[in-house]
Point group: C2
Chain length 79, copies 2
């Protein structure tokens, strides 16, 4: 089964990449962009076939590797 993990910086943590994108969009003439946050998305192909097991595995992967839980939050979507 497939799972999609989205990792974003927590609210309140300065998002330097997002700010750089916002600035660049401004210089390209895109007005009205009031905020940009950038994160990462990780699509996992897992051998497991049980939705619960996939979610448990993906959560463990986030806690151990995919997200820095001090400053990042994550969400898991089983596809």
């Amino acid at each position: 089964m497939k799972a999609r993990v989205t990792v974003m910086l927590k609210a309140g943590v300065l998002d330097v990449q997002g700010e750089a994108v916002r600035f660049a969009l401004g210089t390209l003439g895109f007005g009205g962009v009031t905020g940009v946050r950038q994160g990462k998305v990780i699509e996992l192909d897992l051998a497991e076939n049980d939705r619960g097991a996939v979610e448990t595995s993906a959560k463990a992967m986030c806690e151990k590797l995919l997200a820095n839980t001090v400053i990042e939050g994550y969400s898991i979507e089983v596809l």
Copy 2:
């Protein structure tokens, strides 16, 4: 309004980051991970209030800045 842009490498383009994550998950004891693709997600806060206009703006931003359309595909979700 908010829009979420997801940018992923096109199928067939070597995803080095994804392969690195797959290898790292293996060394951490997560078996059964048959594939990993990593991309980026960009959340935009836009001043526009019309769904169509937001989608049009986000598409132009993808074409001009957010995605390298030679090797990357993107999808836009208006929230």
